[in-house]
Structures are given as structure tokens and as C-alpha cells.
Amino acid sequence: MNVDSIQNGVVIDHISAGRGMRLYELLGLDKLSVPVAIIKNVTSRKMGKKDLIKVDADIPINLDVIGFVDPGATVNVIKNGELAEKRSVPMPETLVNVIKCKNPRCITSTEQELDHVFRLTDRENLVYRCIYCETALKGD
């Protein structure tokens, strides 16, 4: 399957198969009017199968979101059709307004102006906890 190469934009590569859509949603790519391609289950020598996202526009990408959803993913910045920068994305220490705390007893459920902040508390098991109520959110 072929998708046209992009001129200026971002390619998020090596996304674990099945996580592409989640990344697409959390990055808010569904709200953009620029060309975005999500390619699922691409054959990969390293991973067996992988997902891939191409954004054909020079827009800021929240790397924390990528590190949270899939710390194994890589981000390739494309400028004038050439690879300008390739970087890996570590798991972020904190996530601000990426995920909402779902605990109905959390103060964020009633105080709308508060940022939803999660902190990485267990790197091994990918556990983030709400800084207010400490409800765990498992990285997926």
C-alpha cells in the first residue's frame, strides 16, 4: 500500500499495531483540516506489524502524547521532502490536559478550570496517577 510522500510535515513511525487510532485521537488530528494519513498494520521487519501516521503540514505535535501512548514510536520531521530530524519520544513525566481524570470523586470533576494533570509514578508498569486524587491511569 502506498501513500504519497509528504513535503513538509511529520511522520510518526513505529507505532505499535493498534495504537495508531488512539494516537490520532489524543493528538487531536481529527480536528485538523490538513491531509493526515493513518496506516494500520503495515508490515515491519522490526515489529512484525506497525501503525504509521503522516501529517502533511508543519504543525506542532505534542510529543508527550506520543510518549504516553507509545514510547517506542519515532517522530520524523520532514522538510522539503527530506528527513530533517528523527527522534524517539520518552515517556513524559507529566501529562497536562491530555487525559481527563475519570474519578467522579476527583476535584477536577467539579472544578472545570483545573488542568487535568497526571504524573508518571511507575515507569515499569506504565502507571500514571492523577496529581489530585491519585487515581491510576494505565498507559496503553
Binding site: R105, I107, S109, E111, L114, T121, D122, I131, Y132
Partner: protein, 307 residues
């Protein structure tokens, strides 16, 4: 500006300091009677409380300070939709320290970020209640003369009980502690507490449903209330509740120097007949709570440069 949200906000050395201060207050109350003269504590209780609020108020009065408070959450600006942050920011213009209870988890953290004075978490929903744990620590220290090398039994609702999780967190920082976790299957200590605290730190623990089997080995027995609202059917609740009632009969098998504790209020999990047993410490625990709150208010006001 230092506020206290969680018992883990204190280092072990600071806890030792607070305990030493509380013990000195107990020995020499007169020398603290004017420590907070001219200073004010606000008790901001957004949900009903009897003992914690009165304990804070008594603590501030015994330090020579004054207390102001709102009549009730329903008649306060919170009822008009004011945010916790705004309420606390406003109140902090009037007073030197705030003790706050709020039904929402994390409310105390929000308050501490906007207040211009120290905030003490007096309970934020089911999340934290650090001054209860301070009371527990002083009680253990006074009863046992140490905080190390003992077997602590926790009995009842170990799943939802915030006091239990705080106590496990606090006591697991001392040497030679072993926990015996006594609860129905449905109310066992959550796995994240076991993993994050007990297993991570290599603290020995035993989980059991059999109260009578383990009672002889305990140095501390920390009872908690099994709450009706946690059960889907009444039958299960009644069956389980009745298996964890501490009676004089049961205590016969316990050590002579066992200390029986309870954060209170109790319903029926400790029979009233146990109150006369010298091993019952739960009313001493209440008094210890006041002394630790005094020590805490002093510490925070000193650190803030207020006194």
C-alpha cells in the same frame, strides 16, 4: 509556603520532630499556652465533621490562638458556585493557617496552590487524612515507646479505608514492621498498595480472613468500620460485619500489651465492653490527635515565619 496534604509530605525525621513536640506539649502545656497568641486558624469544612474540626479548634485555642470558621458548606460561598481556589484564597487573607475538609479528592492540593497561608488537609474525600495518621503515630509511640519492630494488624475495610492506606505508608518507613491484613475477600488492601508500598519496600505482610488465628501475634490492632454502602447485598454485609467484631472474648487470646486502635467513629466493630480493657487506646488516640495538631500548627507557622 508549606502545606500538608499527605502524610508522606513529612520525612521520618520530621515525624519524629512532631512526635517529640507533641510529647513536650503533653508534659509542659503551660509553656505552649501563648505560642499562637494573636494568630488565627480557619476551619474550612465543606462537609460535616465532629471530631476533626473540634480537635483543630481545641488545638488552636490551647496554643493561645483564635479560630474562625464558616457555619456550613451549604451557607457558604461554595453553595453559590465559588471555586475551592477562590474561597481559600479569600480566607487566607484573614488568617494565618487553614484546616480544610472537602468531599472531593485532591481539593486540599488545589487549596494549597492558591492559599497565601499554610493549608492542612483535614480530609479530602476518601483520599488522605494526614492528621489522623499523625494521631495514630503518636498513639503507637506513646503506647509502645517505639515505632519500630512490631506486628501491626489492620482489620475491617482495608480496601476503601484511607486511614489504613496512610498508616501502611507511614509505618512502612520504620524498621522491623510486619503487617497482618485482616479483612473479608471483598475488602482486601488494593493491589497497588501492596505492590507500591509493601512489595517494593520488602515489608513482610500476611493477608487473612481469619481474625482469631492471627490475633495472638499482634502488637497493634487497628480496627476499622466495615461500611454498609460498599456491599451489593445486605446479607453479605451482615455476614462479614459480624465476623470482625472485637469482643472481650476475642481479646483473651491477644497479647497483654496489645494496643487496640480505631480512627472512630465506630459502629459495632468494637463492642462497648472492650472500652474498659486497658488495651483499648482509641479514646487516647483522639486526645493524641489534638496534641499532634498542636505540634503541626506550630511547625507550619514557624516555617512560614508567622511565629
Amino acid at each position: 509556603m508549606r502545606s500538608i496534604i499527605d502524610i508522606l509530605d513529612f520525612s521520618v525525621e520530621e515525624l519524629d520532630e512532631l512526635i517529640a513536640c507533641a510529647r513536650d506539649i503533653i508534659e509542659n502545656p503551660a509553656s505552649y499556652a501563648d505560642s499562637c497568641r494573636g494568630k488565627k486558624l480557619a476551619t474550612l469544612f465543606f462537609e460535616p465533621s465532629t471530631r476533626t474540626r473540634m480537635s483543630f479548634e481545641a488545638a488552636m485555642y490551647e496554643l493561645g490562638g483564635n479560630v474562625i470558621s464558616m457555619a456550613s458548606a451549604s451557607s457558604s460561598s461554595a453553595a453559590k458556585g465559588e471555586s475551592v481556589a477562590d474561597t481559600v484564597k479569600t480566607v487566607s487573607q484573614y488568617v494565618d493557617v487553614i484546616a480544610m475538609r472537602h468531599p472531593k479528592e485532591g481539593a486540599a492540593l488545589v487549596a494549597s496552590r492558591t492559599a497565601d497561608v499554610p493549608v492542612i488537609n483535614a480530609g479530602d474525600g476518601g483520599h488522605c487524612h494526614p492528621t489522623q495518621t499523625l494521631a495514630d503515630l503518636l498513639t503507637i509511640q506513646r503506647e509502645k515507646g517505639r515505632l519500630e519492630n512490631m506486628t501491626i494488624g489492620l482489620c475491617g475495610d482495608l480496601k476503601f479505608g484511607r486511614t489504613v492506606h496512610s498508616l501502611i505508608n507511614a509505618m512502612s518507613r520504620y524498621e522491623g514492621i510486619k503487617f497482618v491484613l485482616i479483612s473479608p475477600e471483598e475488602l482486601k488492601v488494593p493491589s497497588y498498595v501492596k505492590r507500591d508500598v509493601l512489595k517494593n519496600k520488602g515489608i513482610p505482610y500476611v493477608q487473612t480472613t481469619d481474625f482469631d488465628e492471627v490475633i495472638p501475634e499482634l502488637d497493634i490492632l487497628y480496627m476499622t468500620r466495615v461500611q454498609r454502602e460498599r456491599f451489593f447485598n445486605e446479607e453479605d454485609y451482615l455476614r462479614l460485619k459480624d465476623s470482625y467484631i472485637l469482643t472481650p472474648e476475642r481479646l483473651k487470646n491477644a497479647k497483654d500489651d496489645l494496643s487496640v486502635m480505631h480512627p472512630l467513629p465506630r459502629v459495632n466493630e468494637i463492642s462497648v465492653a472492650v472500652d474498659n480493657d486497658p488495651r483499648a487506646c482509641y479514646f487516647k488516640q483522639v486526645k493524641n490527635g489534638k496534641y499532634m495538631r498542636m505540634a503541626l500548627i506550630l511547625k507550619l507557622l514557624k516555617e512560614a515565619g508567622t511565629i
